[in-house]
């Protein structure tokens, strides 16, 4: 079940209502049943996989906590890592590895057909696998206490708002909140509703509409011109932000109405002045996961410069692969790794250059230039993320300097008529203001949107949804694939 479906519009109010009217002891049981129903609605046959991953991680964590022998603790940690990552590898990466190995063998004259399993990718597997791993590793490190009740732990893994596309929650944040019996409050209802509606606006009115123009260019790279590539890539940057942060907003709002606060996943990423800062603002739950469970164990930044560069590259290559089993994602991750290494190593020199020009590194003009450059770098990487293949991405980049004399023709080829351009401009302006007004932090107690502005957006979202349906467009969240 997806958030932007009619089924969810029935499912969610029923669950929220039941959550508040049921007695305290049965609230979490209902949430567990609802979460498994939510998952099974899309892929009933793969429910055993999430159940199995949950069971293995829970059992291992129990043994790890009880055992005093380091060897046993390490053995069970390794067992969980092997099983969880093994399942992830089998479903997500087997075909990719097989094709890559056979392609490499082909370079040496060995020709054979790659073995392909063509398995259906379980929805949200990357998210819940990482969530279970964080639990077991935290128990191993002694940071959290093992959850005694298996079914309660199963709710932590499968809690439906964040099950299929995050935020990747930490046990220390979510489990205590699931234990509480929350009462309905006006504050939670209004704030949660606002955040959910903002999410729907981002997804339906911005991301889905933008995808029409982006797909027009990325589906036929050979016919693209420079203005088309630049505009489509910039629009894709907005599309993927609205798609993913829209999902997160709906998840956060849905949980908030029930009194549960999920962790923050986005914080105005395109306002970052460096790529490093971009990653502290984009998909925060994944960035912090990699920081805590991969980057720091590798040595972090308290090592030599070559080792630091190696650590960063490992993290970003793994992050690229996490997003998808394709070379385009590997290049995307590698590009971000290179950006970050070069950015960190050249930062002192760049600051000196700015000071020689008589400006402070924090001056508004310098900040604006840095934000623009960071956005351009991120967009170059997005080309690889969005392109269907490496050859498509290189074709698009090679077309960058072609056709700058016919910008009007480029717009009409993308399907942007005057009504579309006006709608787009208004949508982006509204998005900018809403994003600035509705604090990224879910902790704010008062909303500047108390003027009832959001009532208007209910109609906007319905109109955009109707428009998309009239065009026969079905849309899934981009991060569902991961």
């Amino acid at each position: 079940m997806t958030f932007n479906s009619f089924e969810f519009l029935i499912f969610y109010p029923v669950v929220a209502l039941l959550y508040y009217i049921l007695p305290r002891a049965s609230k979490w049981v209902m949430l567990l049943i609802a979460s498994y129903f939510f998952y099974m609605y899309t892929q009933p046959e793969l429910v055993l996989l999430i159940f199995g991953t949950t069971l293995v991680s829970w059992l291992s964590a129990g043994v790890i906590e009880r055992s005093r022998r380091p060897a046993v603790r390490k053995l069970f940690l390794a067992l969980t890592l092997t099983v969880s990552l093994g399942v992830l590898f089998f479903y997500k990466y087997f075909d990719f590895l097989s094709e890559s190995v056979f392609a490499a063998l082909g370079l040496f004259g060995v020709s054979a057909d790659p073995v392909s399993l063509n398995l259906i990718l379980p929805v949200g597997i990357s998210f819940y696998t990482f969530q279970t791993l964080s639990y077991v590793i935290d128990v191993y490190r002694g940071k959290v206490v093992c959850e005694k009740n298996f079914f309660f732990y199963a709710l932590f893994v499968s809690f439906f708002p964040q099950l299929v596309a995050g935020p990747i929650e930490r046990p220390g944040n979510l489990i205590p909140q699931l234990r509480e019996a929350h009462r309905p409050t006006r504050e939670n209802f209004i704030r949660g509703g606002e955040i959910m509606l903002l999410g729907f606006f981002k997804k339906i009115c911005v991301a889905d509409i933008l995808s029409i123009y982006v797909t027009a260019v990325y589906s036929s790279p050979e016919g693209a011109t420079g203005p088309m590539v630049v505009l489509a890539t910039a629009l894709f940057a907005v599309q993927i932000y609205c798609d993913f942060s829209g999902y997160t907003d709906i998840a956060t709002g849905a949980a908030r109405i029930m009194g549960i606060r999920l962790m923050k996943n986005f914080n105005h990423p395109y306002l970052a002045t460096t790529v490093k800062e971009f990653w502290s603002r984009w998909h925060i739950s994944l960035s912090t996961w990699f920081r805590d469970y991969l980057y720091i164990p590798l040595g972090g930044n308290r090592v030599s410069k070559p080792r630091y560069a190696f650590n960063i590259m490992v993290v970003f290559l793994v992050s690229g692969l996490w997003h998808g089993a394709a070379w385009t994602f590997v290049v995307w991750g590698a590009l971000h790794g290179v950006y970050q290494v070069l950015g960190t190593l050249t930062l002192p020199a760049r600051n000196r250059l700015v000071e020689r020009l008589g400006k402070s590194p924090t001056a508004p003009a310098v900040t604006a230039v840095r934000r623009t450059l960071t956005f351009i770098l991120v967009c170059i990487a997005w080309v690889f993320f969005r392109a269907g293949s490496l050859s498509d991405a290189t074709t698009l980049l090679s077309r960058l300097f072609v056709g700058w004399g016919a910008i009007g023709a480029a717009l009409s080829e993308m399907g942007l008529d005057p009504v579309g351009i006006a709608s787009l401009a208004l949508t982006l302006a509204i998005l900018f203001m809403l994003d600035r007004m509705l604090p990224a932090s879910d902790g704010a107690e008062s909303s500047p949107l108390r003027h009832g502005v959001f009532v208007n957006y209910i109609w906007v979202v319905i109109a955009a949804w109707a428009l998309l349906l009239s065009r026969g467009m079905e849309s899934a969240f981009i991060y569902f694939r991961f």
Binding site: G420, M437, L467
Partner: protein, 84 residues
Amino acid sequence: MDFRSVYFYVYIALLLLCSLFAALGVFVLRGGRLMKALSAVLHIPMLVMLFLAGGELEWVLLSLLFVGFCYTLAAYIFSRRAGT
């Protein structure tokens, strides 16, 4: 869309009224709610006029976005002034 029909001009007038009432409703302390309610009610004849002028779904979305933009801009200016 028939840009020369009377319906189109009435639609434009109602659209501007809708937006004006929505935006003013944010700033006006007394009667602000009434203005916003009036803006909400005016949506109905505005959309009827739009359909009579031959407007399609794209135009409905554009109209709602325009009212939303004016409304949000007013709230944005208000919140910046209030320092929230």
